[in-house]
Amino acid sequence: MNDTPDVTRDAPVVEVRGLSKWFGEVIAVNDLSFTIGRGVTGLLGPNGAGKSTFIKLALGLYRPSRGTLRVLGGAPRNNLDVLRRIAYCPETDHFYDNMTGFEYVYWLNRYWGMGKKDARAATESACELVRMADRMHDPIDEYSKGMRQRIKLAQCLGSRAELLFLDEPMAGLDPRGREEIFALIGRLGDEGYSVIVSSHILYEIERVTDNVVLMYNGSILARGRIHEIRDLIDEHPHTITVETPDPRALSLQLLHPGAMSVEFEEGKLTIRTRDPAACYEKLNDMVLENNGPAIKSIRCADDDLQSVFAYLVEK
């Protein structure tokens, strides 16, 4: 097999044939066969669907148990020609100890083969892009979850890699941070980069791309345009939990035709809706325009998504 990366415009960025990966008796990815073209692609599925395992296979961190996988035309594992053209933002929150955000990004930029001066310039630009320029010299230990997420994104933006794998990049970000990352991914797509972004929240994927691969239990459940998948999912109610000091006032503002029920807890509002996009739009407007009760966090219940996928599987 020729492992020289394919640089033709029409070539798929990821090509998978009968790909399986198991760890002992646990099957993480089961007989996947599909291709991903250029542009932004969403990898959607509940926790444990096999998204991260697939991404690690595509990055060459795992060896396929069976089948083949080609990224930019080459097998990725230990293939420096392929690795030179891809970048990765991991889902997990792991950093080198005793380092500032700047140092973390700088040293990882050096691993791209950059000299000191170029690595410094690339680090400053990447931190600027994720809006971390003013805090980049602070120790990572002092960062909030959202800031850690941003600095992780910065480490993969310094490379100018043409294919980016972003594993749950919006996790832990506040609504404003999410909007910025949505915009950044959108700009990357517009600029000609290919981005594979994973999430277990449909709305997040919907904000960055129309092209989605739906995974469940290690298999591909559906793939295609997001509205086709949305049509399937819309029949199933969606649960959103919002942390706010005034849940009742917030519930009045979040009323929309798809809303089915609301539940109040101390400092928390849980809303079940058939129109999550409308609900998220309202929440975003409130945050960005600052015209409602303070919103501390927004969470899409994963078990709810589990049930959506179970529902789709039954269908």
């Binding site: 640089v7 033709t8 415009r9 029409d10 070539a11 760890f23 002992g24 690690k56 990055l59 060459g60 961190l61 795992y62 060896r63 230990n78 420096l80 020609d81 690795l83 030179r84 891809i86 970048a87 990765y88 991991p90 997990t92 792991h94 950093f95 080198y96 100890d97 005793n98 380092m99 140092e103 040293w107 990882l108 930029n109 050096r110 691993y111 791209w112 083969g113 950059m114 000299g115 170029d118 310039a121 690339a122 680090t123 400053e124 630009s125 990447a126 892009l129 480490q155 933006l157 310094g158 490379s159 100018r160 043409e162 700009r187 990357l188 600029e191 000609g192 980069y193």
Partner: protein, 297 residues
Amino acid sequence: MTEEPIAAPHAVLLPPAPPERAGYFNYFRAAYGHATVMMVRRMRVVMAAVICLLPVLIPLATAFLSRDRFAQEGAVQFRMLVEHAHITMLAPLLALFFGSMLIGEDIEARNIPYVLTRPIPRSAWVLGRFGAYLTVTGTILLLSIGLTFASSTSLARFGVSATNLGILAQYSAVAVLALLGNGAVAVFLGALTKRPIIFGVLVLYGWQQLAMKVPGVIDFFTIQKYTDAMLPALASERGMQTSPAARDALLEFTREVYAVGAAKACITLLLISAVFLGLTVLVVRARQFASARAIGA
């Protein structure tokens, strides 16, 4: 399918592109610099330095407590300290402290995917890190040997002379080679096993000490065999004189039959180090470090 090359993505958004193909040395320097920064910021360095500097106090204490009684033992004490403390005990200890965690720590802290998803040659990464290990541990150990030499001059009949400086240089070289050999074994264990410290203690202290005491050729499979062979002859002779007669005769016999010259020992130690570093590179290429099993979870 068209064969038209893809235009480079627009340059307005992201930072300047990294070099298409950076030189091997560029990657080596990146790994070296990063590992050095990480190592010197650890509390472990302070701990290691404190432990390694303890032998410096012994000649001073000896001189302070009983100058006359130990008047002739300046040279002997320096040699004993460097052979038994620095080379036999502290070099493996530093290898355990730093060598075994050189890659093991990245696996444990789950930072290794950052490195393995970058186009750095795995050998440049391993060698760069190993270079950092040698620099940091070498500085600590050589500083300690130098200070031990200085403090030994407080004892009689031992001063700064060309002969003594020559001995100091020879011991320093052997100490660095001990760090190299023990470190290469430790870094390999760090890449291969989930508990490199435990395996390191078993190999560097348990196995080596046992094999060195058993007559025959088994000691050829230790690092200490070769570091001992490079020590100045006087010290070894002194060691022999203090041994019981039966063991003395046995050791004489094995040394006669299986003795290794300093030059051969040096080459063998370099070869052993190269083999273990090569094996480490192979392990880094072959293992799936991102898996829960690799990190022992």
